[in-house]
């Protein structure tokens, strides 16, 4: 039985984006804060800290969850993946990321990492979802910039419904 006292800091070990890492934390430390400030993975964003906005969504053992509604200690021993894991080592974007650029699916980019992680999970489980399914999963995220239209288009491309329209690929 794992037990950590109220004011005790314990070393939390987990795998982040394929790498075994650890840092000390109190039991109350949120996973979102632990990833950003203890492990330096600032790609995961914090937007509301009460589980509504979805900015902080990460994968734990492949499943998309709100890291602000998860304690760091709950991720102990787990495999955590964040947005930093998506592109290739040389920076090449993966098809989901490329679809977002092609369809102008982001403006300020703050909500984007959470959406990418949700659909990394969802499209792995359901590679060929309907548009209604995509909208249903996307409804777990708030975006204030785009009006969502570009995001839906990008997700349809990622789900194989649209040609990879490198539309404005003049640049």
């Amino acid at each position: 039985m794992r037990r950590i006292d109220k004011d005790q800091r314990a070393r939390i070990r987990l795998t982040l984006n394929g790498r075994a890492l650890s840092a000390e934390a109190e039991p109350r430390m949120l996973l979102s804060d632990f990833l950003r400030h203890s492990l330096g993975a600032t790609g995961t964003h914090v937007g509301c800290e009460h589980g509504v906005c979805g900015c902080c969504t990460v994968l734990i053992d492949g499943t998309a969850v709100r890291s602000c509604l998860t304690l760091a200690v709950q991720a102990e021993g787990r495999d955590v993946r964040t947005v930093e894991s998506l592109a290739a080592a040389d920076g090449t974007l993966n098809p989901l990321q490329r679809a977002f650029q092609n369809h102008h699916a982001l403006q300020c980019g703050f909500c984007t990492p959470g959406i990418l992680m949700s659909f990394t999970d969802y499209l792995a489980r359901n590679p060929r979802p309907s548009e209604a399914d995509i909208r249903d999963v996307l409804s777990g995220h708030l975006c204030r910039c785009t009006g969502y239209a570009g995001i839906v288009s990008a997700l349809l491309e990622a789900a194989g419904y649209r040609q990879s329209s490198e539309s404005g690929s003049k640049s």
């Binding site: 794992r2 039991p27 979805g54 499943t63 709100r66 304690l71 249903d136 999963v137």
Partner: protein, 275 residues
Amino acid sequence: MKPRPFAYVRPDSVDEAVAVLAAHGDDARVLAGGQSLLALLNLRLADPAVLVDITRIAALDQICDLGDKIEVGAAVTQNRLLAWPQLAEKLPLLAAALPFVGHFQTRNKGTVCGSVAHADPSSEIPLALAVLGGEVVLRSQRGTRVLSADAFQKDMLTTTREPDELITAVRFPVNSGRGVAFREVARRHGDFAIVAVAALVDGQGAVRLGVGGMAGAPAVRQIAAADGSTARGAVDKMAVELEGYEDLHATAVMRRDLLRRLGPVVIDEAMRCAA
């Protein structure tokens, strides 16, 4: 929005878990999916001394077919139940209601039992449990109790669970072959319902109608062999009896009117589903 300090305990078995609860009583809170609890902690609206994380107790992470009932363990997430291959056949009402519970991302972590334990008056799973006449299984060092849904949830966020008790499972009676329907009105997709209505129709056309969001706990009425006008009459009577309540999103009058409009539609859908 950071939680107050608390101790963290992660038992490996149900026995360990109930021992911790026995030791700490009211000072302990059970942490399962945490989709409501962690938000409350971040807002400093809850003040537990100890969090008891039961998510790694393998015995609780099971869906068991008991024949006439389906038992869902306390660590089973909402999405896991939603993906259970026999859900549509054995628990069609749950199959209809679960997609309305939060969002894909919160269902990935939120548990079925946690939703029942939290006892929000407009929450979908407690409503389904009540309409189906399900049960809640409570374990403590003193033994095991099984309460009917009705005996479990008493009021808004209030249940009859004792501080040393752990909800180990809920049991949903198998409702295959019966007509079911579920609808809710929420401001946004995935929000808690303003009013939620669930109906269950048996072969003789008798209806069990459950309503969430009208009172402190889900309300269930039996309506004998309903045709259109008896259904409307029964729903109207129910609206008057339950009264409803006012919050930011709806007045009590509006809740009653919503029930009057939704109730007959849901009954009709369940009847057609049965036929």
